[in-house]
C-alpha cells in the first residue's frame, strides 16, 4: 500500500515493480474474496433475480407459447384477486394464533421444566420430541386425528357435546384453519420451550433469593426478575417465529391443501398452489414478491422498534 501512495506522490519515485507483479498485487484482495462472492451470487442472487423476473412474465408450464414479458399484468390481477386477500387475512390469523399459542404454552412448559423434579431429564427429552418430527408427518398425523373415520378427536368432541355429530373440522369452511393451527402449535411449542428454558436457566438463582428476602412473592418475582431477563429472548424468538410461520405452508398443504374452496389458504400456500397445482409460475412469483415486500416491511419495523427501545434505555 505504501508503494501505491509513493507512486501517486507526483511520481517522485517511480514504482519499480514489474507490471505483472503490480497487477497481481492489485487484484489479490478481489481474488481472495472471489470464491465466496461467486458462491453467494450463484446460489442467492441468481435465483432471486430470476424469481423476481418471473413476476413480470407470463410463465405457465402447460402453455408452451407463454413466457413473454407482460409488465405489471400479474399485479393488476392480484389487486382484484379476492382469494389473495382472503389468504392475506388468513396469514395474519394463522401467524398470530400460532405464534401466540406456541409462545404461551412454550413459556408455561419452560417454567415447569425449570423447576427440578424427579425424572426431569426424560420429561425434557420427551417434550422436545415434536420438534424432531418432520412437519409433513406431523401434518398427516393431525389430519388423521381430525378425521372421524380413523381419528378419535371428532368422537371426543362429540362425546363432550361440543359437536352435533363427529365430523372433520378440516372440511368445515369456518373452522378449517384451526386444524393446521393446532398442529402447528403442537409442533412449535418445543422451539419456544427450549429457547425460553435456556434463557430461564441463565438467570442467577440468588436474584430470586434476594427478591424473596426483599419481600417479593412469586408473581412479583416473575414480573421484576424473570420477565426482564427473558425479554430479549422473547423479542428475538417471537420475531423469528413470526417470519417463519407466515412462510410455513407445509402443514396447510398436507392437511387441508388450502381447502375447502381456498378457505384455509395462507399466502405461502396460495403461492404453492398457484405454482405447483395450477402451474402458473408467473402469477405465483408475483404473489411471492408481494409477500417478500410485506415481510421486509415487518422486519424493518421490528428493527426500528428495537433501535428505539435501545436508544430509550
Amino acid at each position: 500500500m505504501a508503494s501505491h501512495a509513493a507512486a501517486r506522490n507526483g511520481g517522485a519515485r517511480r514504482d519499480q515493480r514489474p507490471l505483472k507483479k503490480r497487477l497481481a498485487d492489485a487484484s489479490a484482495p478481489y481474488l481472495y474474496s472471489a470464491p465466496a462472492l461467486i458462491l453467494i451470487v450463484t446460489v442467492m442472487l441468481v435465483p432471486l433475480v430470476l424469481g423476481i423476473s418471473y413476476a413480470f412474465r407470463d410463465i405457465q408450464l402447460l402453455n408452451p407459447m407463454s413466457g413473454g414479458f407482460i409488465g405489471l399484468d400479474h399485479f393488476r390481477t392480484l389487486y382484484e384477486d379476492q382469494n389473495f386477500y382472503r389468504a392475506l387475512k388468513n396469514t395474519l390469523w394463522w401467524t398470530g394464533w400460532s405464534v401466540l399459542l406456541q409462545f404461551v404454552f412454550g413459556l408455561i412448559l419452560a417454567l415447569l421444566l425449570d423447576k427440578p423434579f424427579y425424572g426431569r431429564a426424560i420429561v425434557q427429552a420427551l417434550v422436545f420430541l415434536p420438534w424432531a418430527v418432520p412437519s409433513f408427518l406431523a401434518g398427516l398425523n393431525w389430519a388423521w386425528l381430525f378425521n372421524p373415520v380413523v381419528g378419535p378427536i371428532p368422537h371426543w368432541l362429540f362425546a363432550l357435546g361440543l359437536m352435533n355429530e363427529p365430523y372433520n373440522i378440516l372440511s368445515d369452511p369456518q373452522l378449517s384453519t384451526w386444524g393446521p393451527i393446532i398442529a402447528n402449535v403442537w409442533w412449535g411449542i418445543p422451539f419456544f420451550a427450549i429457547t425460553l428454558l435456556a434463557a430461564l436457566q441463565a438467570i442467577p438463582r440468588d436474584l430470586y433469593e434476594a427478591a424473596s428476602i426483599d419481600g417479593a412473592g412469586p408473581v412479583q418475582r416473575f414480573i421484576s426478575i424473570t420477565l426482564p431477563f427473558l425479554a430479549p429472548t422473547i423479542a428475538i424468538t417471537v420475531l423469528l417465529r413470526t417470519v417463519w410461520i407466515s412462510n410455513f405452508a407445509d402443514l396447510i398443504i398436507v392437511m387441508t391443501n388450502g381447502g375447502p374452496a381456498d378457505r384455509s389458504q395462507i399466502v405461502a400456500s396460495y403461492i404453492f398452489t398457484q405454482a405447483f397445482k395450477r402451474l402458473d409460475f408467473g402469477y405465483a412469483s408475483a404473489i411471492a414478491l408481494v409477500l417478500l415486500a410485506l415481510l421486509i416491511t415487518y422486519s424493518m419495523l421490528i428493527v426500528i422498534l428495537r433501535q428505539w427501545l435501545l436508544s430509550k434505555d
Binding site: 440468588d206 424473596s212 412479583q220 421484576s224
Partner: protein, 356 residues
C-alpha cells in the same frame, strides 16, 4: 432489631446430614460471626435463618416468634449476598428502593430513606447507574444500601467481602463495623476468613463439620480455644502443634515430643501420666534467642519478612513450627537458634482434641 434463637437445628439434604443440632442465642443488637472452613454448614445455617432453606428439625425464633414455616419475605430480615445479587436491569436507586416499593411505601418516604442510605454509603453520584457500570466495592455498597433502607429486624451477611481484593476488603470491613455501630442492628455474618471474624464480631461462632465448636468473644477464642480445631483455625500464622506424650513425675512433668525432644514443664497439666496429647503454642509466644535452663535448640528453615514482623520457620528435631517476632535482628538468621516455649502460653489438648 430483634433477638434470634436457634434451637436444636438439624439439616439434611436427602440422607446427608449437614447440621447436627445447632443451639445459638443471638441477643438484640449483637454482631455474631459464623466462621469455619467451607462445607462446615455456616452458610446453610444462615440461609435457614433467612428462610431460603427448609429446616429439617429444630426451631428458629425471631423475637421469640417461631419462623420455621414463614416465607423469607415475611421474616423481615435483610441479606447481603456474596455475589451482591443486584437486579441488573434496575438502577442503583431502583435496586435500593425495590423492597420499599413492594411494600407500597409512600414515594416521599422512599426518596428520603434511599437518599439517606446513599449518603451514608457514599453512593450519591451513582444513583442512576446500572450495577454493571459499578466496581466491585460500589456494588457491595449498593447491596448493603438495599439492606439498610428496610430497617429490618436483622442483617444477614453471606461472605459479603469474598469477591473483593484485599485492600478493598479491609476498607469494607471497617465500613461494615461502623455501620453496625451506627445502626446497632442484630447482624449475623458468615465468613471463612478468621481475620474478618476477629475484627467484626461481638461473638464468634466457630463451626466445623456441621457442629458448633466454640462460641465466645474473639479474644476468648484466641486466648482460650476449646479444641484443636478452633486453636488451629483462629489466628494467622496459625498455632503450632506438637504431638507427644505427657509424662508426670510427682509435682513436675515433661512432655516428650514425637521425634525425641523432651520439653520440661514447670507445672502439671490435667492429663493422665503417659497419655498421648497435643501441645499448642501461638507463633508470637515462641521466644527466639532465649537463655536459661529450659532452652531448646531449633534449626532455622526459612525466614519470611512480612514488613510488620518476621515469620521464622523452625524445626525441632523432625517437627516443623513457626515463630513470629517483631525484632528485626532475626531477619538474617540461619543455622541454629535457642528457643523457649514459655509454659504459661502452652495449650494442652487431650487425645480427643479437647483443651485441658
Amino acid at each position: 432489631m430483634a433477638s434470634i434463637d436457634i434451637a436444636a437445628i438439624h439439616k439434611s439434604y436427602g440422607i446427608h446430614p449437614v447440621l447436627h443440632g445447632i443451639d445459638l442465642e443471638i441477643k438484640d443488637g449483637e454482631f455474631v460471626v459464623l466462621v469455619g472452613p467451607s462445607g462446615c454448614g455456616k452458610s446453610t445455617l444462615l440461609r435457614m435463618i433467612a428462610g431460603l432453606e427448609a429446616v429439617t428439625d429444630g426451631e428458629i425464633r425471631i423475637d421469640g416468634k417461631r419462623v420455621n414455616d414463614l416465607a423469607p419475605k415475611d421474616r423481615d430480615i435483610a441479606m447481603v449476598f456474596q455475589s451482591y445479587a443486584l437486579y441488573p436491569h434496575m438502577s442503583v436507586a431502583k435496586n435500593m428502593s425495590y423492597s420499599l416499593r413492594l411494600r407500597k411505601t409512600a414515594k416521599e418516604k422512599i426518596a428520603s430513606v434511599v437518599a439517606n442510605a446513599a449518603t451514608k454509603l457514599g453512593l450519591d453520584p451513582l444513583m442512576e447507574r446500572r450495577p454493571k457500570a459499578l466496581s466491585g466495592g460500589q456494588r457491595q455498597r449498593v447491596a448493603m444500601g438495599r439492606a439498610i433502607v428496610r430497617e429490618p429486624k436483622a442483617f444477614l451477611f453471606d461472605e459479603p467481602l469474598s469477591n473483593l481484593d484485599a485492600r478493598l476488603r479491609e476498607q469494607m470491613r471497617a465500613e461494615i463495623k461502623k455501620l453496625h455501630q451506627d445502626l446497632g442492628a442484630t447482624s449475623i455474618y458468615v465468613t471463612h476468613d478468621q481475620i474478618e471474624a476477629m475484627t467484626l464480631a461481638d461473638r464468634i461462632v466457630a463451626m466445623h463439620g456441621g457442629v458448633i465448636q466454640q462460641v465466645g468473644s474473639p479474644l476468648e477464642l484466641y486466648d482460650n480455644p476449646a479444641n484443636l480445631f478452633v486453636a488451629g483455625f483462629i489466628g494467622s500464622p496459625g498455632m503450632n502443634f506438637f504431638e507427644g506424650r505427657y509424662m508426670a513425675t510427682g509435682d513436675t512433668a515433661n512432655f516428650a515430643l514425637t521425634g525425641g525432644v523432651v520439653l520440661p514443664l514447670s507445672g502439671v497439666a490435667n492429663l493422665a501420666d503417659g497419655s498421648r496429647a497435643t501441645l499448642g503454642i501461638r507463633p508470637e509466644h515462641v521466644v527466639l534467642g532465649a537463655e536459661g535452663p529450659d532452652v531448646l535448640k531449633a534449626t532455622v528453615d526459612l525466614v519470611e519478612p512480612t514488613g510488620f514482623g518476621i515469620i521464622v520457620h523452625l524445626k525441632l528435631g523432625p517437627v516443623a513450627f513457626k515463630a513470629f517476632t517483631l525484632d528485626r535482628r532475626f531477619l538474617g538468621m540461619h543455622g541454629e537458634v535457642d528457643v523457649k516455649l514459655p509454659v504459661k502460653n502452652l495449650h494442652f489438648f487431650n487425645e480427643a482434641g479437647r483443651k485441658v
